[in-house]
Point group: D2
Chain length 349, copies 4
């Protein structure tokens, strides 16, 4: 009954086996092996266009280097108030941009409200040096609280960004979960809606360590090789990332794993919705369920062996909890089994 | 006949297999799993003292974060003119320290000359703000050109560093090769001689991606958890590094692999020394051989399938090459086979 | 009728004359002249304790270097949502700290609410690396909207800061105006209430360019000489700053000038309060008055020669303005004359 | 007999008086006053082309922001081994560029040798990520050791820079001294020879604090307003810099002052050349004389009231000094009087 996070799960056997097979023998290092090149091409196919792809070691690296690539002095990136890059990356985005600021934007259900985004950007009159200058908009898909931007919602945000000539970045730490849930292709969920840069995460969905930074416009990434190396994110035996991606993207494994995680979350959600001892904080749309329980029930579950984290109520939901209640985040992964979910629900009752 | 670099070799089967085994199931992420903790303890045993250990993804990260941990405004780190951190890390050490400078120090055979080190440090009078302030000394063991600091040479440099109250860092990208060649223990080659921080590399010696930053004084590393996270080097499933280290350090595998690489280099060296068509640039002491060949011979070998890089003559050896000659670096690894070496030598004749 | 800002006024004749006198002849550069030393001692007298003083060229430099001096990796400084360092310094504080974040805290009347401050700091559990770590609290006195922290309000914030072992910084761009209004001594308004570092501004109050960074604990500033030089803020002929301070602090000139500016603001406030065509947005407590006018009246005043800026309503006052209204900031300085104020009020009617 | 440095001299009376006159009354701050604009136009006239001009507070700021404006990840700037930016700015250029490196180039008489420059740049093969990438060449005119680049020498360096598409920066801390000595116009000494950016210093030549960053191509400086503000170098009452420049550039005052300083240096040189107790280290070409004396003579002069600094022999002159000798730097300024020079020479005998 481990619902702590999708990064508690190890790696999927098919990925591990493939890494074992692909890892022996000699190969050109630093991203120049045939395998590396093949995976780069695979990404172009996946996105149905010429993209520039850069493997990095962590999702934080992907996000931070995305911003470093489009950095401006006094730059300001607009993201949701509860965005991972703002709350959980120890200042890495600011560090790699030498201090470019992340400006929080509010919005319901973990999603940026386009009107509020426009208002925040509007506080930066062009050429007013003192305030700095807008440099990007970043959204998270799936969001930090397990919800999803619909295509029209992404398009609305992209329209605001485009109006101010700002690139739109998507933190896709759970990109596959979003794709699987929305039944969209990578192209449909990104550049066809106006997304320019994607942090393409695979670690949470069955890899050990496989993250890619994808630029829809390769010209925009021409400095990235230097930026990545200077950031200590150019791996000598980079094929160990490429090999993971090869297995991950083969025969739809990635979407299968994400679909499973989503299904387990849905099963969990169903059980909670039917329960009298818990309620859903908001609808789960990908692989994360947020539930409100009485503190004593949460304690009881924990003692029975369930693993999970309490979560801070979002700023948008100030009155979510009663005095004796707690908000739990329950994350399903490729490795979550239906029996565990059922046992959890059973215990909950 | 691949002598291009030890990072062209893949991973050793024992390490790959162990990763496969250790990578399944749920585990606490971000360096807090039992496996992570065990390996940390293993490092304490290895160094025969309480050390602080931080896994990172690249050798560049280890070096850069070592300096970030001891950073000073206007800081200057003294390293050999041909040090990897100065020549091959795209400015990462300066980037992660926000501009602390690397000051080149000369010395024969790729090794810092203690007298020249003292003279360079002496150019920074204490409290003379304009010049900045010394902050560290860094040596590479084995060096970039395949030589080794003897214990007394390390002690001499440490004495200079200590006199100026500067921490001494050792870039140990080929730490195991040095240990195996010198028949020293980690403690004997480091803190017992005055080394304070070690970039402990395993990637070049049979891992895919396993580097550790080791502080002899854990107090000196108290900010490192934040520095590492902010540097995007805290891996969620960090056990994939820990697992590699577990196999690597088990039953002396690491020293066995390094010893093999050294032996292959020695075999190569012997062949070259006996050859009439090549000469050694200087004695090979670890797993790298530097040889001077006529350009046409180098070309001929390359056409016959040998893989290697030409190398810039060190500043200390300006007259090394005749007009028609070229300096080759030939690197042996855990995966180098005696037959390849012999074939290379045969072809050379 | 220039109420645009106190930095539109030139320099006070006494200061200019003194600079002229003190600027000829030879003197040791880089802050080591006798004059520099004298002014440093003058600051110790002023603050009634041994302080460390560093002259810099701009208020932004003072604020940014204050944070640089107490910098931490992943550091977070808590300041009011409308603080100058957050809204008007183009990211300088983040730049000079390599990305340490400024976290906005809300509060009425431009002042941090101590309870909200405690809540924000509470979101950073000690040792939770992902969120970064608290590093400082910063208040502005007088505030950006012309209000003042009372001694007990500063003490309340200092208590929260101290509880979390965070240094308390005071942005004193209008330090003299606050002192004069509150009838406190520098010691009473700072360290006796728990303030650790002061950006001591004089430029807005009659100097051309004279800002000082004052550390109540000189030990906390031991790296500042290097930090300042590296920041390009160590002036060779630094006596041009020292000389301005000498005249400024002589015979109470600074408090006299600030008192005059405050009095002019009070006169303006009185006129507006009595007017039927404008109302005060909130009470003016130092040298800035914020008034709500109908847009057409503001336009009319501007055409009649009044100079002022419109201002964004604070987040804490969302409903401040009716559709056809505008918020004006009116700043009085040492150079403001009573006749101008009266003419403005007359025109307003 | 103060020959310590030209920054020991105060300000020229004409400049001080003009500042006094121009500093009263209200004016738009932050570089937007009429006076600021006028001086910007004055610079365009001076350079006989449309230039972009930015006032900053220190020469270090000018140099550092010049590099920040053309910054690249992993960037490397080539400058003379004894360049001020490399030896005397406490790492500011690296800090403001987030770690872009300064690569020392050798050359006689304090001047970069074009062939050595080409060789150093040649060590960075295009696209070889590990080494970083060349980003600029910087020369100092007059040099740190009082010599001058002839027009053809500047052109030769510019040719190397252009071949590698690198901008050429000139550190003109003593720009006027060079102009006056070479009898060239600003245009002739800069862009007509291939110089792209100039740090235009006036502080050492009779101002208190007046430095300008001049871009020959205004497009190359489009981010500079944000870079300068973020660097805390945008002065609110920036007219105090503009006013100094106005007086400085009026009626050729600046060249007159520089010419005087040069003449005093020449007089000093003549005296030393004729002396039997000292010899010139190399010819003085601007306002700095470097002389070799016996240690006891230097001591004697100091006791007699002469003020000067000992100087480290350049790397290019390792055998300059006998055991009992010392190298002195003797700097003349606008304020140096012929009597002082004569007294010094007299004492020397």
């Amino acid at each position: 009954m481990n619902f702590a996070s999708d990064n508690w799960a190890g790696t999927h056997p098919a990925i591990a086996q493939h890494l074992l097979a692909a890892g022996s023998g000699f190969a050109v290092p630093y991203g120049n092996s045939e395998l590396d090149r093949n995976i780069e091409r695979r990404f172009c196919e996946l996105f149905e266009r010429e993209v520039a792809v850069f493997f990095v070691g962590t999702g934080t690296a992907a996000n931070a280097l995305a911003l470093a690539a489009i950095n401006r002095p006094g730059g300001v990136t607009f993201c949701h108030r509860e965005a991972h890059m703002l709350e959980d990356e120890c200042g890495a985005p600011e560090f790699f941009t030498h201090g470019a600021r992340l400006a929080p934007v509010d919005g319901e259900l973990g999603k940026i409200d386009p009107a509020k985004l426009a208002a925040e950007i509007g506080r930066f009159p062009p050429g007013f040096i003192h305030a700095g200058q807008p440099m990007a908009v970043s959204i998270t898909q799936a969001t930090e609280i397990g919800t999803l931007y619909r295509p029209d919602e992404i398009a609305a945000i992209a329209a605001v960004a485009r109006r101010h000539r700002l690139p739109l970045h998507m933190d896709g730490a759970r990109f596959a979960n979003a794709l699987a849930a929305l039944q969209l292709t990578p192209a449909q969920m990104t550049w066809q809606l106006g997304v320019d840069i994607v942090s393409f995460g695979a670690t949470k969905n069955g890899c050990w360590c496989a993250e890619a930074l994808v630029f829809m416009d390769p010209d925009a990434a021409k400095d990235l090789p230097f930026i990545r190396k200077r950031a200590a994110q150019l791996f000598s035996k980079s094929r160990f990332i490429a090999a993971q991606f090869e297995a991950y993207l083969q025969n739809g494994l990635w979407l299968e794993l994400a679909g499973h995680a989503n299904a387990m979350a849905a099963r969990l959600q169903q059980g909670i919705a039917a329960s009298r001892r818990a309620r859903l904080a908001w609808p789960a749309e990908a692989n994360e369920v947020f539930a409100v329980l009485e503190r004593s029930d949460a304690e009881r579950l924990r003692e029975a062996g369930a693993v999970f984290y309490p979560w801070n109520p979002p700023h948008a939901n100030p009155g979510l909890l009663a005095e004796n209640e707690v908000l739990l985040r329950l994350v399903a992964s490729f490795a979550t089994e239906a029996e565990e979910v059922d046992r959890f629900i059973e215990l909950l009752q």
